[in-house]
């Protein structure tokens, strides 16, 4: 990523800057219920925005955020000796990917023949078998707003799984503004094509998310973000809870996509819409259960599949009491 280094050197997005809604309007505090939203049991309002701010348009500054320092996946990286050589390599790499892209377009979607893609019923999207798999993820915690939680991501036993571990601390940062704190998150990086063009996942044929995890009994939250190519929707995400059992056995978590509820800036919206699967940008796991202490989550792989027994389209109906406009 030497090219990226040179182009974007020095960019540094402060956590507090992109919150104009809060700073400008003195009446609107983080606790005050927004007009069209409500809050949840688990996620905190202000820190809920922090993971969302990673996904600004064409966001590659994520590499330069402070959270990269928290990620201890590659402490042995030797710095590149020659930038120019690395840049040339990278340009060649990009052109090669562009060529592959064009060729793949003729073969079929994502480079596979169409009949294979259509008949597919299960797909592994992320698996953790090596360090390069870990590079596809970013870990954040409330250190960005001044909290004390720590989170690290590393390969698990025998390089067969990824281990997300750390300590959660719900001590609120003393900045006069946040009342609550204590969250850790692991978010996948947005897939990019040649020349770092943003891409998305297309899961329209599948209807269930499948995770094989081993936790310690803590409740996690799975967040899915849609692609923000057309409309700037960086604060919106679809979430659902993942309850880990704890114990030495691997746990399979199957969450149908119809169960994901819609939230904006960390608060549940009154008007609920179902998750559209054709332009998925990233997935993330958050822990914010207000209990201080160490935690861990071992993930084997993350996949999607079609569950023919699941026929529900969307789990949450809009209520006329909260949303009279939808029922006119």
């Amino acid at each position: 990523m030497a090219l990226v280094h040179k182009l974007l050197n020095g960019t540094y997005i402060l956590r507090k800057c992109p919150k104009p809604g809060v700073a400008s309007c003195p009446f609107l505090s983080t606790r005050f219920a927004d007009y069209c939203s409500s809050s949840l049991e688990k996620p905190v309002a202000a820190p809920g925005k922090a993971p969302s701010q990673r996904k600004t348009e064409g966001n590659l500054e994520g590499h330069h955020q402070r959270e990269v320092a928290l990620d201890i996946t590659s402490p042995e990286d030797k710095p590149e000796v020659s930038f120019d050589k690395a840049i040339k390599e990278e340009i060649k790499d990009h052109f090669r990917r562009l060529k592959d892209d064009i060729v793949n377009h003729w073969i079929g979607p994502e480079g596979r023949p169409l009949h294979e893609v259509l008949m597919e019923q299960a797909k592994v999207v992320w698996q953790f078998r090596g360090k390069e798999d870990l590079d596809k993820w970013i870990v954040t915690s409330d250190k960005t707003i001044g909290g004390r939680s720590e989170v690290f991501l590393k390969m698990g036993r025998n390089n067969q799984s990824a281990l997300l571990y750390g300590t959660l601390s719900s001590e609120a940062p003393q900045d006069g503004e946040s009342g609550r704190s204590g969250y850790c998150a692991m978010i996948s990086k947005i897939p990019t094509g040649p020349f770092e063009r943003k891409r998305f996942y297309d899961w329209s044929q599948f209807n269930t998310l499948y995770l094989r995890v081993r936790g310690d009994g803590r409740p996690w939250m799975v967040n899915i973000r849609e692609d923000t190519d057309i409309i700037q929707r960086k604060d919106q995400m679809y979430s659902y809870f993942m309850f880990t059992r704890g114990g030495p056995y691997w746990q399979e978590v199957k969450i149908p996509f119809s169960k994901f509820f819609f939230s904006n800036r960390g608060r549940i919206r009154d008007a609920q819409y179902k998750l559209l699967l054709d332009k998925i940008s990233s997935i993330g796991f958050t822990l914010a259960d207000k209990v201080d202490g160490p935690f861990f989550l071992e993930i084997d792989f993350i996949g999607v599949f079609t569950d023919p027994a699941h026929t529900e389209e969307f789990a949450y109906e809009n209520s006329p009491e909260l949303n009279p406009r939808l029922f006119k």
Binding site: A33, F243, G246, D300, G303, L322
Partner: protein, 487 residues
């Protein structure tokens, strides 16, 4: 941005609500005594000078608020206009600043204790109501008493917003944060019918914004602790704020989303965890083990608490769980291969962390695996890790299950009061009664150094760090074998 100045001053111990207290929560009556007015005037005159900027009326009001909040030394530095990053009691003063601003004014402004004692804590206005019985027990009755004292002390409920914020903060100390009756009592403090919007202008503009924010704060704390509001709450909110207010809206949302998410946990843990460690361990083991036919065995009860300390008994409790499938697998285990006691791993039950150990064997290399020798695990228990046979995949998950991590089978799980080898050896001995073949199998203890460590350090133990302890474990092996041969 002048408005931000006072907000930037860090409230030392009072987090979020204090910043609201400081800037935004003031009762409509600001009673200024003559002495306060003098200080205000003095501060008005001195504030302008060092920075050279004029003092706006809004700033004066904020200063007055700050004074009435009783922020003592901190406010005095604020008044002199010193930059906040260097807030010191001896802020540089301009030539025109009078000394009046720095006089400690004990009757009006409660003085914070000296900084040497640790964190500087400014007393909140009605905090003395909660200090009535400093040596008394802090429980629901005393909390209710404090609240009732406030309502009796003050017929017009002056400062009720501040008092409610203070009470919300104090709830945790008194242990009543999950008590719905207390929340209703707090909502009862609000004067009724006053804050309801009566005409269209009231409903367009946020009518009584601070009070509405306070009502929302009460509901939000309820939500944080998972307390479901009831009809009484609804009635109170309607009486106080009206049906079209933000607290009422929040109440409707809470009703909706709480009921939706009430039962989504597939592994529910009871809200009141048992205090007894044996019961807690039993609950935890049952929680972890998916097989319902597994048996929980108590191998050792803790010593009675008259002589020894309950937290550190000479005989810690040892409770184990094993299912019939695991028993059968252990019986089939090849005595030539060692089995390992690993741990401690952490398990969280709501907000309690307990530690457990497991007895497992390593995965057989592919050539030695006999497919079909053990009965395949049931579909309902796919990831049990109990086999050489791969878990049975369904048609849909076939592509996915080929990638599953395969680990060695787990034979038993236990929870013990202590995490040292002696206790676990007792567990193994207890296991031998139901698994006679265990006597012939060498047991290696792979324990991490301290009991508080995560799975990270114990599972991340690659082979090299194991070799030094393994030298010790070989001796343990021999000792075990000797013990077993003797017994």
């Amino acid at each position: 941005m002048r408005l931000l100045r006072l907000r930037e001053v860090k409230p030392f111990s009072q987090g979020h609500a204090a910043s609201h207290q400081l800037g935004w929560n003031w009762t409509p009556h600001l009673s200024l005594s003559p002495k306060r007015l003098k200080i205000l005037a003095a501060s008005l005159s001195c504030c302008g000078c060092p920075t050279g900027k004029g003092m706006s009326w809004a700033q004066a009001i904020l200063l007055a608020r700050g004074l009435s909040r009783g922020w003592g030394g901190i406010c005095s530095t604020a008044l002199t206009g010193a930059p906040f990053s260097q807030v010191t009691p001896q802020a540089p003063r301009g030539l025109h600043c009078s000394t009046a601003a720095h006089q400690p004014d004990s009757p009006l402004v409660p003085r914070p204790p000296e900084p040497q004692r640790g964190l500087v804590k400014a007393l909140a206005p009605h905090e003395e109501l909660f200090r009535q019985a400093p040596d008394g027990v802090r429980d629901k009755a005393s909390f209710v008493q404090a609240v009732q004292n406030f309502t009796q002390y003050n017929v017009h409920k002056r400062g009720h917003v501040d008092f409610i914020y203070l009470a919300l903060r104090k709830m945790r100390e008194y242990g009543v944060e999950r008590d719905l009756a207390i929340y209703n009592l707090l909502l009862d403090i609000f004067p009724k019918e006053v804050f309801r919007p009566r005409n269209i202008f009231h409903s367009i503009f946020l009518h009584y914004p601070r009070q509405q924010e306070c009502g929302i704060a009460v509901l939000e704390q309820m939500e944080n602790h998972g307390v479901m509001p009831n009809k009484e709450t609804e009635f109170l909110l309607t009486q106080i704020f009206g049906r079209k207010s933000y607290p009422m809206l929040k109440f409707v949302r809470m009703k909706l989303w709480f009921t939706r998410f009430k039962n989504i946990n597939p592994f529910p843990v009871p809200r009141d965890l048992p205090q007894d460690p044996v019961d807690l361990a039993r609950l935890a083991l049952r929680h972890m083990e998916p097989d319902l036919s597994a048996r929980v065995t108590v191998y050792q009860m803790p010593l009675s608490k008259d002589s020894t300390d309950a937290t550190d008994p000479t005989e810690p409790h040892i409770i184990g769980i094993q299912s019939p499938d695991q028993q059968a697998a252990l019986a089939h285990h090849d005595p030539a291969r060692p089995i390992f006691v690993e741990g401690p791993f952490s398990l969280w039950l709501r907000d309690k962390c307990v530690y457990y150990h497991i007895l497992r064997a390593d995965l057989l290399p592919p050539e030695e695996r006999e497919k079909g020798s053990l009965k395949p695990p049931s579909l309902a228990w796919k990831g049990c890790g109990l086999e050489g046979a791969a878990p049975v995949p369904t048609a849909q998950t076939e592509g996915l299950s080929l990638l599953t991590v395969e680990e060695g089978p787990v034979f038993a799980i236990c929870m013990a009061g202590a995490h040292d080898q002696a206790t676990l050896a007792k567990w193994i001995q207890g296991l031998q009664e139901t698994n006679p073949t265990l006597a012939r199998i060498p047991v290696v203890f792979r324990l991490s150094a301290s009991s508080g460590e995560l799975l990270a350090s114990s599972s991340g133990l690659e082979e090299p760090p194991l070799t030094p302890p393994e030298g010790r474990e070989e001796e343990e092996n021999n000792q075990q074998r000797q013990q077993q041969s003797q017994s």
